[in-house]
């Protein structure tokens, strides 16, 4: 048992369980907190994949900024509690779970049928090299400058759009 296996199973278990707990909680704040736990364990998984920069960004952007936005909106509104999870429309919900399980089985079949690990064995040096902020920054500002500028423009448009949508109508 080396450290990678232990970390994968610990973080993967936390991620899977917290995602299930998130969709079954009635209270929106508790669901948001479980989602933050899920994002944090995903950051741990990114670290076991040697993606340091993405792990840090995951904690700062997702678990920090986006979830704070969600919690603020939950506290601004007062979402009435839904009924207990399977009480309203149990038939439709069971149908939804059957569909989801069917798609999951399909995905598992595709993953095991194509066997990607036979084609791409792990090369540790390349993997560590790919995750550093240096190589990501190099490729970002060399080959992907235009998408980078487009992302900045998208953020500007989203800021203005959010302001206009959420402001009080004065006229």
């Amino acid at each position: 048992m080396n450290l990678e296996i232990i970390f994968f199973f610990v973080f993967g278990f936390v991620a899977a369980v917290s995602s299930i707990l998130m969709i079954t909680r009635n209270n929106a704040v508790i669901a948001a907190l479980y989602l933050i736990l899920n994002f944090a364990s995903l950051a741990g998984l990114y670290l076991t994949l040697n993606a340091q920069f993405i792990a840090v960004t995951q904690v700062i952007v997702y678990a920090g900024a986006i979830m704070v936005l969600f919690l603020f909106v939950i506290m601004l509104l007062r979402p009435e509690n839904e009924k207990k999870f399977l009480e309203a429309n149990p038939k439709i919900k069971i149908f939804a779970f059957v569909i989801a399980g069917f798609v999951f089985l399909q995905l598992i079949y595709i993953i095991f049928f194509s066997r990607p690990s036979a084609i791409i064995p792990k090369n540790l040096n390349e993997s560590v090299e790919a995750g550093t902020i240096e190589s990501i920054g190099y490729i970002l500002f060399k080959d992907y400058v235009l998408p980078f500028e487009a992302a900045g423009f998208l953020l500007l448009a989203a800021t203005i759009g959010a302001l206009i949508l959420a402001k009080k109508k004065v006229d």
Binding site: M22, A28, L49, Q58, N123, I139
Partner: protein
């Protein structure tokens, strides 16, 4: 025993399916929104896994862009939810059906 890429792919497929089930079953618009974030994150996990196993930075670069789009989407979507709540005093998506035929 080594951790091959299938482990990460299956975990990510499971998280995606949980997100799909959440979108289909929950009626609170904010929780539906959080389930969409969960699905985006499972796709991110797939991208990072492939990027790490292939030894290429491009996958992680795309995760970076997905995070940007997710932040923009969260801001605009939550603004829309606030605007709807101001008009109809509810965030239950069964009551918000004016665009439904």
């Amino acid at each position: 025993m080594t951790i091959t890429i299938e482990y990460y792919l299956i975990l990510s497929a499971f998280m995606f399916i949980v997100g799909v089930a959440g979108v289909l079953t929950r009626r609170n618009a904010i929780i539906v929104f959080m389930c969409i974030e969960l699905m985006l994150n499972s796709a991110n996990l797939t991208l990072v896994a492939f990027s790490s196993y292939l030894g290429s930075s491009v996958g992680q670069l795309f995760v970076f862009f997905v995070m940007t789009v997710a932040a923009a989407e969260a801001a605009v979507g939550l603004a829309i939810i606030i605007a709807i709540f101001r008009n109809k005093l509810t965030v239950n998506i069964d009551d918000i059906n004016i665009l439904k035929w």
